[in-house]
Symmetry: C2
Subunit: 551 residues, 2 copies
């Protein structure tokens, strides 16, 4: 590896960044930070892949081909045919690759993975197109989320693994004084990966949600099988292809990481997950399958499922700035983020704006108007909303009339100037009674509910209780009162939910930063893992300490 | 706390020791390192507790009393009556204590726990007597295992928790450059304990196996309920009483830790474990109940169960030194240690001693003779063997005749000069066919089996496979060949078993040292936790990171 020194520096900076948790990004999020020709080259590469066999993977002769991706923007099939391998083949390959990979040094494994990230960087713009036309994310988000942000999250997990794997000395001379003599024992401490790792991807953030587990799994000495969502294979396929190139370049079996595409009409995640050789599972997706995975015996399971995120209104300095910030948050990728706010709790007596009372109805109206204004802003709306990943989400939101709720803002398609066929839907707003069961349900997609509460304490109680019961990943709170802020923080903390206070401007509750923000706490039903805390890597290996009596 | 500075030094030394993993002991293991009058005072305190109500606990008016401990040495009831509390009361107390405890600073919590260890130290000799007359351990082992070694293991877990809880900054100013402006966010990172913790003790090592979980649980901000084995309450009751004194002295609710004694004829572990408020469970004991606990949903469960430990004979420098070392290992506490060797694999062609072949039969005979000689040595045998904790273990070993095996050394009572009624049994040795199912069973207590194998590879294969299938905590290997040593290490590592090579003299495979040896790897069915690796503490809390837009 020619760039060994540079890669080691990247790794060490990332380890330091994990410790400090202040701002750090290895991969710039702004597209202009990359070569001027990169966007067009990425678009060309994307077009060149359409309606062809995907033949970049280094995992042996395909046993078939499949591909069923459809662009949410054009509603046309991408026509990319991925190679198929049976579960048996995948497990056999992984088992064969494991022996050499787990015996490779910690340092070398880590440097190969940094090399892979640098290779992936070269394909950020192709990945952006691939992400856009599988997930429905707008272009900027597709670029940032699946490109630099994903690489940073992968590097974060890799750096956390590297720090943990090297935290104890490899060799120790243990000398116990026994009065007139000493006992001398030579000890060696080896981190040993638990076994084959399975990463199950989702359709909305195929790269961002999968790479932390993939990189943590590989870094800790485990071969990884990546089972993408059938609707969003392409972006992950590029990532796996580059990982395989990095492995090959270092003389390792490229099949140390494999892409496992579902054959037509058959989902293989369950069969893979239940295989006794699979010891580690990473999963992002719905609660039902996540709960099933968590119940499997003898596996380390890392989940990010769904939750009910809350917004607590108490008092503000500038209501306009607040509702504009929230309008962006609920519009971003049409609410298809696990971090998107959903339940908006507003006291029946309204809120204070600089000491002046704004009645409940006015708060609601201004929130609604801000959302409406934002999505209809020609420069902001369509690009931020992107498209709806799948028809079911759209149908559910369009059925909002059937809910026991008052519809304040009806679902509405927003024309996309670039893609006339885009499957779009602006956020719908409903008003729901605090006693309704509806407030305990995750409403995935562009649908938020306003809930009139007795007061802020009542809002807090509902937000806390629902987080404990159904899970929550984010909570946005608006209060200018320090005591109230403290109470909200403490109470939500009891439900293991991080609180973002008084966000306005260019920072949003649904975004969080690698190397600083832990994504999901792992403490409530929204998921049992956290990106990337020490548990996220330590649960993937065990320490084995051998002893030898010294001569 | 007057000794704050001293306690902080103890803590910091322990954190450093965890990192270095070379020899360290905060609490000397030699009884003579303690005041000359301490042994007699401890014995007096022990006698003063017999046949009385145990009234040292600070957990409210008892709802009843119970106690059914019987000394394995005298076979007489201790007659100590412990206070009883309903599961409801225990959970209510714990929930009430939780709020203040979790809000206490990490530092203060840790110092209170060091204070508790220093208080416990003052009662080491009473604890030794209490341990001896509940577990059947000989006096020296009772002193060391439940006194200094337990305190060191507790301090090790506490120090690991302290390091993890303080590894990230509490407060961070996160400043993101945005070209012409910056986004400033103030972040705070809080480790939040998962909830009420339950520690389920065992009858053989009531203190040693329980204190790591208790201290890790408390250090990470969780109230702890300690459910001792009904046959070994007293040693843990002293520990809990001193913890409660330390809490009280620091102005905390003593009920932050509680002793939960089973009422007569009823075992409350299951009811406690299944209570939704209980989020963390530490358990040492049999596989069946351990597997059940591991299957409970929504709990962090830490288990140390049973396994089949192996000894692999290949080649030695001095066979006498080897069999003497092993004779001690199998005699120590009559094989009632989870780390005791059980399956002795000897190649059919014998082994090499300094290049000279010693036939299989001779190896077996010399092992048998060494065990026989050791247990009949008046100065060594009785004190090392101790007594058999319970009648069932004795009965099972006495039934050795009924097994499909050749009995090489029959079970035999060894007279204890101090206690004529002691329930004793020297290790029995059976020879079992390599194809027998018996070699896959844990034979708890003084019973080992010799297995004739084709060669060392066959030995290794059996040791590996049985460890993967049934679990194993230790493996002792004897080989003078470096290549063979490497192969054994690598293969056993694949079954997540640490190997001790060529131990002779004053170090034994069944002993391991706090701050250096990880006890149990957590990778095979012998248990899912390791004392005390980072997982042992990190799984007890989550990180919650709050954000506030800076003005």
């Amino acid at each position: 590896m020619s760039d060994k020194k540079k890669y080691l520096e990247i790794l060490e900076r990332a380890v330091e960044a994990n410790r400090l948790r202040s701002f750090f990004a290895q991969y710039p999020e702004h597209p202009k930070a990359y070569p001027a020709e990169a966007p067009e080259k990425g678009a060309q590469a994307f077009r060149a892949h359409l309606n062809k066999d995907f033949d970049e993977l280094l995992q042996g002769t395909p046993e078939g081909r499949a591909g069923e991706e459809v662009s949410p923007f054009t509603r046309e099939a991408l026509g990319i045919r991925y190679p198929l391998y049976s579960v048996e083949t995948l497990l056999k390959n992984a088992a064969e690759a494991r022996s050499a990979w787990r015996k490779e040094t910690i340092e070398e494994r880590a440097l190969i993975l940094v090399d892979a990230l640098e290779r992936i960087k070269e394909r950020f713009f192709e990945i952006a197109n691939a992400t856009m036309h599988t997930t429905g994310q707008g272009w900027v988000m597709s670029f940032q989320a699946s490109g630099p942000h994903s690489n940073d999250r992968a590097l974060e997990a890799l750096a956390m693994a590297y720090e943990e794997l090297t935290r104890f000395p490899r060799e120790v001379d243990w000398v116990k004084p026994m009065g007139k003599f000493e006992i001398k024992v030579h000890k060696s401490f080896h981190p040993v990966g638990k076994g084959i790792s399975l990463a199950i991807g989702c359709s909305t953030f195929p790269v961002w949600n999968s790479v932390p587990g993939i990189f943590a799994g590989l870094a800790t000495g485990n071969p990884v099988i990546v089972k993408p969502h059938p609707g969003a294979v392409y972006p992950l396929a590029i990532v796996i292809a580059e990982l395989q190139q990095a492995l090959l370049a270092a003389g390792h079996d490229p099949k140390t990481v494999q892409l496992a595409v579902d054959p037509p009409g058959k989902l293989i995640a369950k069969e893979l997950a239940e295989s006794p050789e699979v010891k580690i599972i990473d999963y992002t997706g719905g609660n039902e399958f996540g709960d099933y995975l968590e119940s499997l015996k003898g596996k380390e399971v890392f989940t990010e499922k769904a939750g009910v995120n809350s917004v607590i209104f108490d008092s503000v300095k500038n209501l306009d700035a607040v509702v504009q910030n929230l309008a962006f948050s609920v519009s971003l990728y049409s609410g298809q983020m696990c971090t998107a706010p959903q339940n908006f709790y507003i006291p029946q007596e309204g809120i204070l704006e600089n000491g002046e009372r704004i009645p409940y109805e006015e708060v609601v109206n201004r929130l609604r108007d801000a959302v409406y204004g934002f999505v209809h802003h020609p420069k902001m709306g369509p690009g931020t909303l992107g498209a709806i990943q799948n028809e079911r989400t759209l149908k559910r939101v369009q059925g909002v009339d059937g809910l026991e709720a008052e519809v304040l803002l009806a679902p509405e398609a927003i024309e996309n100037p670039e893609f006339a066929n885009a499957r779009t839907c602006a956020p719908s707003i409903i008003e729901v009674d605090a006693g309704s069961e509806l407030i305990r349900e995750e409403l995935f997609g562009p649908l938020i509910q306003v809930i009139k509460t007795r007061d802020t304490e009542h809002s807090l109680q509902l937000a806390h209780d629902i987080a404990m019961e159904k899970g929550a990943i984010t909570c946005a709170a608006y209060t200018t009162d320090e005591e109230t802020a403290k109470r909200i923080e403490e109470r939500m903390e009891e439900a293991f939910v991080p609180v973002s206070f008084n966000l306005t401007g260019y920072i949003w509750v649904n975004q969080n930063a690698a190397f600083s923000d832990f994504h999901v706490t792992g403490g409530n039903p929204a998921g049992n893992a956290s990106l990337a805390d020490p548990n996220f890597v330590n649960r993937r290996f065990v320490w084995v300490g051998h002893r030898k009596l010294a001569d």
